[in-house]
């Protein structure tokens, strides 16, 4: 193995029993039988080399699976604003269920006001949702007011047309 150049070594791994993955946790579960002779040998070097080779195979399988996931490029257009440069991979949700550390939160009992409001049908006042408004013609969001706002489409100063006034 050491005489062969590293780039010539195979990138695929064969396993008798197919392995299972939990990519959300970056985990691989390999239930194939291990070589009991090597494992019970007294030679530490042989045993460690075997364990390392098993781990390398697992890592190779995991990396192959991860690289098959959909790639998301960083930047504002690519999704999450917090991830700037770099190649990102969208991980699926973890599949292994692990116990929670605290119980599922109980819905808090409604306060006296909340109960009253619900009974009377009082909803919070709908405030104008910020400064942006969707412009159908342009197909993008523009400001309602302010610099380059939509309300500035009309000229704010129009000279009096004597004939139209009278």
């Amino acid at each position: 193995m050491s005489t062969q150049s590293i780039s010539d070594r195979p990138v695929t791994v064969e396993r008798a029993i197919p392995v299972t993955y939990d990519l959300g946790n970056l985990t691989i579960y390999d239930t194939n039988m291990m070589d009991s002779q090597i494992m019970s040998s007294t030679d530490e070097g042989v045993k460690e080399a075997y364990l390392q080779s098993l781990a390398r195979d697992s890592a190779q399988l995991l990396v192959n699976q991860i690289l098959a996931l959909p790639v998301v490029t960083g930047g504002r257009t690519g999704g999450d604003v917090n991830h700037n440069d770099g190649v990102f991979v969208k991980l699926p949700d973890p599949t292994t269920q692990l116990p929670r550390e605290k119980p599922v939160p109980v819905a808090k009992p409604l306060t006296k006001w909340e109960k009253f409001a619900k009974q009377k049908g009082i909803t919070p006042k709908a405030r104008n949702s910020g400064n942006l408004v969707y412009d159908e013609a342009k197909g993008e969001w523009v400001k309602k007011w302010g610099y380059k706002g939509k309300n500035q489409e009309q000229p704010w100063l129009v000279e009096v047309d004597e004939k139209a006034e009278n």
Partner: protein, 334 residues
């Protein structure tokens, strides 16, 4: 035991809210606690393990007289005070030398725990210095059929996964795949749980390797993965186990409503594999139906209808009459 604290300012309220039960939970924090008989070997082993849990771990320095399997109440207190649901307790005795007790809490009460006796330990410092950045998510691999068949080994698998998996992330930077934790156990798992003889159980090998990728000539997109051991190297022997109370475990495994996958109504996949859905269009006001510009509705001579059947005839009559009648009425009124 803990008095209920009422938050006096926004900061303490935020701290309290961060510890309150949530739909999506925080990453579990861990504690390493030293027993009164904790040896240097166990202390070093705990420190090395803690390196892979940073920054979500707190290391206690003082020694504590605790026997977890007899009375874990002080560990529960530590869990509550520090908001830590994972604890590793290190101890050493003639009967149980160099033992690490791993335990999990649910709602600050012991959920499950097990003892792992350290058979071999090679410290991180004895390996070539290969460090990973703090907080990197490890790749984890469990090798061996016993992790699937033996309930105690399944508990070990669950605990290790809980401990080492780190923060939940949805987007992974490919440069962040730096190391792999490999947990192996030989044996076929056909070992009776109830035999009580713990010496027959295969040891658990815990290894950590740093990952190096090389461009492969065989395939362009997939690299060749090579490993280099960076330690620590630990071999564990499973000792006493305290399984979780089934009711408590059921509570702990509950998924809140908000996270349960929602079934989409009205959408089905038919036999051919096509997505079929019902689009609900509102009721059409037939009075306002535009019939003037529909060529198909024009009145035609009877000769043209020879091969079409009487259905078209009837529809045409109905629609035309509906539209014309109201108009006729209006004219009369005027």
């Amino acid at each position: 035991m803990m008095r209920i604290v009422k938050p006096r300012n926004a900061r303490s309220k935020r701290a309290m809210d961060s510890r309150a039960p949530k739909v999506v939970e925080n990453t579990k924090t861990a504690l390493t606690v030293r027993g009164s008989t904790c040896s240097v070997l166990v202390q070093n082993a705990m420190t090395d393990i803690a390196a892979y849990k940073q920054p979500d771990i707190k290391k206690f320095q003082k020694k504590n007289e605790i026997r977890p399997f007899e009375d874990a109440s002080s560990l529960e207190f530590f869990s509550q005070k520090n908001d830590a649901s994972l604890i590793i307790f290190g101890s050493n005795s003639k009967k149980r030398p160099n033992t690490l007790t791993w335990l999990r809490t649910f709602n600050y009460q012991v959920l499950d725990m097990f003892e792992l006796k350290v058979l071999n330990y090679k410290a991180m410092s004895e390996f070539k210095k290969l460090t990973v950045n703090v907080g990197m998510k490890p790749m984890i691999s469990f090798i061996g059929p016993i992790f699937d068949s033996h309930p105690h080994y399944q508990m070990v698998k669950s605990m290790f996964l809980d401990f080492f998996r780190g923060e939940q992330i949805s987007m992974l930077d490919l440069a962040g795949l730096q190391y792999i934790i490999s947990v192996t156990a030989s044996g076929d798992g056909n070992i009776s749980v109830y035999s009580g003889d713990t010496s027959n159980l295969p040891p658990i090998n815990f290894r950590v390797y740093k990952i190096k990728t090389y461009k492969s000539k065989k395939q362009d997109k997939v690299p060749r993965v090579e490993l280099e051991e960076m330690g620590p190297r630990l071999d564990f022997q499973l000792g006493r186990v305290r399984e979780a109370d089934p009711d408590m475990m059921k509570q702990a495994m509950k998924i809140p409503k908000e996270l349960q996958p929602k079934a989409k109504k009205n959408v089905e996949t038919d036999l051919l594999g096509d997505k079929v859905a019902t689009i609900h269009v509102g009721k059409q006001d037939l009075m306002k139906l535009q019939t003037r510009k529909m060529k198909g509705l024009k009145k035609r001579s009877k000769d043209e209808f020879e091969g079409q059947g009487g259905v078209d005839d009837e529809i045409e009559d109905v629609i035309v009459s509906d539209e014309e009648q109201p108009k006729k009425r209006k004219r009369h009124i005027k």
